[in-house]
């Protein structure tokens, strides 16, 4: 209890005011935006929010704590199946479903966190990869509980009556997902600015040094894994609502790799980067899909073209911006500052450190 109080204190206190203000501002903008755009854009906005939650959790684990996970898609599956099983026989409010999904996935995260804390580098990647490959098979094996390949359907969350009968369900779900994403972001942002966040980074940068400084390395790694898993669980439950179905094919290795793609493209270790990466994940394939039926090329080419173009865009993006979108933005900002006379912290006027334009955020 003392530990949780301490943790809570760390999460809430330091820069809470600034983060809350930012989140409220973002909430106001997003609320206005979601009301202006069409139902399909709301649906895509929901997807961005969901991926942002999962990617934020993963960027904390991989970018800030140095543990690479290729199994976060499977952890999302845990959240999604929890939500689906809860909603199979009961009508529960969406908040309750999300909280239970977070708890369940968090508990699974403790188990895997302990295993992960003993593994390093490629061995850790391999172990989490196993998770991504094996966990969906459980659903196929225990067909009676998890519905096999067809999966379980998730009933949509119905907008409350006071919003009116014509209120689009897509917008309602977008609000839920955006609220969840903002809460996650505020909590994580505060955590990262706290001493816990600093221990994460210390462990990432040099385990031996961190241990000498009195940090319990294993405990820190497990904690990072649990928080990260909880985020994946939340994202998974929202994902269930979003797609209306929880099926093993939706949580394959592809999803796990997509999440890694998002945090790398967005900018490793930064929460803003997680959001950028999620935007890429949702909107770039949306641009390239649908080309198959409109282009006049042989179908064997047309069918695979959207994926090929998506891949090419990712390759080019990494060549142009090796530090991800957030890294590129920081660099542009640094250049602008250098030009217009503001001195970057600790640097000289007009000088930009090209490899690392900003210190860790």
């Amino acid at each position: 209890m003392v530990a949780t109080q301490l943790l809570l204190g760390r999460v809430v206190r330091p820069t809470l005011g600034r983060h809350l203000l930012l989140a409220l501002g973002a909430a106001a903008v997003l609320l206005l935006l979601s009301a202006q755009i069409g139902a399909y854009d709301d649906y895509n906005l929901t997807a961005v929010a969901i991926f942002a939650v999962a990617a934020a959790g993963l960027t904390l684990l991989t970018g800030l704590n140095g543990q690479l996970s290729l199994g976060h898609g499977a952890l999302m599956a845990v959240g999604a199946y929890t939500a689906s099983l809860l909603l199979k026989d009961h009508q529960l409010p969406v908040v309750v479903v999300l909280l239970i999904a977070v708890l369940t996935t968090g508990i699974i995260g403790i188990v895997f966190g302990y295993a992960a804390a003993r593994l390093r580098g490629p061995y850790l990647a391999g172990a989490t990869l196993t998770l991504a490959v094996a966990l969906p098979q459980v659903a196929t094996r225990y067909k009676n509980v998890f519905g096999g390949d067809s999966g379980l359907t998730v009933p949509p969350s119905v907008p409350p009556a006071w919003l009116g009968a014509d209120f689009p369900p897509e917008r309602w779900l977008a609000w839920i997902a955006l609220a969840a994403a903002l809460v996650t972001m505020v909590l994580l942002a505060n955590l990262l600015r706290s001493s816990v966040g600093r221990t994460f980074i210390a462990v990432r940068d040099h385990e031996a040094a961190a241990a000498l400084a009195g940090i319990d390395v294993a405990r820190t790694q497990v904690l990072a894994f649990v928080i990260s898993a909880a985020c994946a669980g939340l994202a998974g439950a929202l994902f269930g609502y979003w797609s209306g179905v929880t099926a093993p094919a939706g949580f394959g290795l592809g999803l796990s790799l997509q999440l890694v793609t998002a945090i790398v493209i967005g900018g490793l270790g930064s929460l803003a980067g997680a959001v950028w990466g999620s935007l890429v994940l949702v909107f770039v394939p949306a641009l390239t899909s649908g080309m198959a039926s409109t282009m006049n090329v042989p179908s064997s080419i047309a069918n695979n073209l959207p994926l090929a173009i998506y891949g090419a865009i990712l390759v080019i993006a990494m060549l142009v911006a090796p530090h991800g979108i957030q890294g590129a933005l920081s660099r542009i900002l640094a250049i602008v500052r250098a030009r217009w006379g503001h001195t970057p912290a600790g640097g000289k006027k007009g000088v930009v450190d090209w490899d690392d334009p900003t210190p860790d955020t």
Partner: protein, 438 residues
Amino acid sequence: MKSVINGSALRMRGIAIISLVGLLAACGTSSATDNSGTNTASAPGITATDITIGSTQPLTGPAAPGYSEIAPASNAYFVYLNQHGGVFGRKILYQYLDDGYNPTNTASATRKLILETKVFGMFSALGTPTHLAVVDYINTEKVPDLFVSSGCNCWNNVSKYPNTFGWQPDYTIEGKVLGQYIKQNLSGKKVGYFFQNDEFGLDGVKGLDDQLGSSSIASRQNYVPTNTNVGPQIAALQASGAQVVVSFSIPAFTALALLSAAKLGYHPIWVVSNVGSDVTTLTGLLTAFSKGAVGGQLLGGMVTDAYLPLVGDSSNPWIKLFKGIHDQIIPGLPWDGNVLYGMAQAYTLAQAFKAAGRNPTRASFVKTLESTKLSNGPGLAPLGFSSDNHLGYLGVQVATIAADGTETTTGPVYTSSDTGPITQYSGSASTPPTNGIP
């Protein structure tokens, strides 16, 4: 002067709008028979000049071989139709998106089609697990969900899914007719089953058991599509002494089963349901899997069933029509059962639009399908659409495959339902209109 609008003018305008709305509503209900007048944008996806429909298809992924030809084939028929004047002068535009046979992708692609592209309806959406993921949503949105490319009897659920219509005979009917054939022609032989462990295989087995009796089956073996080693199952069938093996399998697993059996020196009579028995597809798979060691010769003596004219029957007028369109518009694709399937579905859709009248709404279109009797079109059996039945073709005909790969139908066409008796169909096959469009 023009800015002055007094109260009575406003009221007049109000009355005019109300009566216009009333008139439109009246049009909406009577349009099924009212074919005169001009084309209007009568429903989402319908403009004065075209009708947009959408689909989700496995263009990539595990189900793509063979099945990825279906949507281009449907599209080729629409291109042909549009070249010949379309339906009531409207062109049919077909937007199909890849879902990779992944239900989650199906969910987002379907929403893209309905919310963004704003299609009139879904057409030929392929796959049982994939379409189950979206059938609730499509019906909530009251979007016509036409001719699902799957023989699951889940689509025939009028009260739960009033807007969803199947097309091909369901797997239980196929199982029943195949079971009856075995009972009549292969009596006294031991029978074993080999089936996919999902709705597809289980529905088929239900039909087989109905005819053969569940207690008399020597062995029941199933497979999951993710495990390509079917050796143990085939060995078990061999050990049980089954002389006839009925297989409800997708093409790749029919081929794997045939190869495993050949390796074991096991040569039962294979009875394979329609989806897993396309000769062109199987020959290709057998050759590829055995690295050229064997090919189509393993198919000799196979029993299967059909609800469309046989692909190789070049004297059939429907085959002539569709093969002509294939040769002209999509010569790059093989001429096989998948292409025939896609074109035949497209023909049924054209029939339905023709019957629904000049300016249909989504609701009036569904009503037309339930109340108007469409002709068989290319199908061997009649279409069963009515207000309490959303299953498409009601029956099949048994066919056999000779050693050289030629397929011939045998016996009459039988119709049935999941629970009803099997009856011999007495109607005759229809012939296509001279210009090939309904």
